[in-house]
């Protein structure tokens, strides 16, 4: 059986996806899960993806944003913010 990704490895892969998509399109947690499942096949499952997202958010490497739906993005100063 293929070696499963650890949640940390999955988090790293998701982080790279978010980084690459920055400025181009916003990714939902669901998109990241689907992308990872597609990229790594049976080396990841939904539980690992869930833990990976938790890892990304708890560490502050990604933040949840809300623009009609909820997305995961790199931390940034948003346009609407006032000082």
């Amino acid at each position: 059986m293929a070696q499963m990704l650890t949640p940390q490895e999955a988090a790293e892969a998701m982080f790279n996806m978010v980084k690459e998509a920055t400025g181009l399109r916003k990714l939902k947690p669901m998109d990241l899960t689907k992308n990872l499942l597609e990229a790594y096949g049976d080396r990841v499952d939904k539980q690992i993806c869930k833990e990976a997202i938790k890892e990304l958010v708890d560490s502050g490497r990604c933040v949840y944003t809300y623009f009609g739906g909820t997305y995961l993005e790199l931390p940034h100063r948003e346009g609407a913010a006032n000082d």
Partner: protein, 404 residues
Amino acid sequence: MADEFPKTPLLDELEKGAWPSFVSEIKMAAKRNAASRDLLGLLERSYREKIGHWKHGGIVGVLGYGGGVIGRYCDVPEEFPNVSHFHTIRVNQPSGWYYSTSALRKICDIWERHGSGLTNMHGSTGDIILLGTRTDELEPTFSELTEVGFDLGGSGSDVRTPSCCLGKSRCEWACYDTMALTYDLTKSFQDELHRPAFPYKFKFKMSGCPNDCVASVARADISIIGTWRDDIRIDHDAVMEYAEKGLDIQKHVVNFCPGKCMEWTGKKLTIDNSTCRHCMHCLNLMPKALRPGKDQGAVVLIGSKAPIIEGALLSSVLIPFWNPQPPYSDLKDLVGRIWDLWCEEGKNRERIGEFIQRVGMGNFLEMIGVEPIAEMVAHPRENPYVFYEEYLVEDDGEEEEGQN
């Protein structure tokens, strides 16, 4: 603006009349609080110009959570600096909205220290709504709230804070323990509540009987409404007492029965329970004489929503009779299957009800492994989306050709 009390001739109009006024409440808070003063000024300006002055903030929140904070900034911060940031915090309410006065005092004290002091008890989601604070006050507020036993509620594409009527704690109509189920679901779905992972929001609302005091049938993705499946209990002496005291049973009770299943002879009331719609009309009018049957449980419905993106939807029956018993594993398994499918196939910002409309109820039921049954149909011939394949006769193509 800051220190002076703004002139608000338009808002003042909203203080007139017999009803409580949010303007009076904000004015009361404004005596002590600069944010409330600026809020009055900003609101008056919006009324005058007929234009809103709020911008949506998308990335404010507390560390680790994807819900519970709704970001707001004012678009004229130079004029109204104290509402330059005016974020809303949603706090998970206790089931049935029971508080001790000391718990309420603690919430208010925290909010006066860290926010505008203005609250909305409660928002349409059911949460305690704390209105108006700055980004740098979010973490301290959250940390103090958790110290006194409160947590944030849901917002965004997550499980929204489950809410329920007060059920068996005070209401004689309750057919199951709404508060216990709500508490359990809230605890079980913490991850889904705080970490948005769905195409859109997902709401659970629990009502103890078909009176549906939390309006779950119109607003919840999963509505769980108490019901019974045996006969309405009748106390005939109490029925006579109502009649003697002047209730026109024929006119006000029997004639309004949507199931046309009641008969009143002037001395005796009978109910044909096989056609009763469980609408609660007769029970509400004669609460001392009629009670729900003893075989009680709940009906689980799916798919309602208020109109935001598309039109309003009412729930459809998913499980006609469910016996809610802890740990409610059967319901949680079913919900898990629904979420898996919706996350897989749902479009961005598509509520589960809209998803069902798109794929068809028959397909949806098949995909989540639920058999279609007659109780899911409101009226005969109303649900053309369910096909019973065993009744379909294979045709040889001739008929089809003839029709074209």
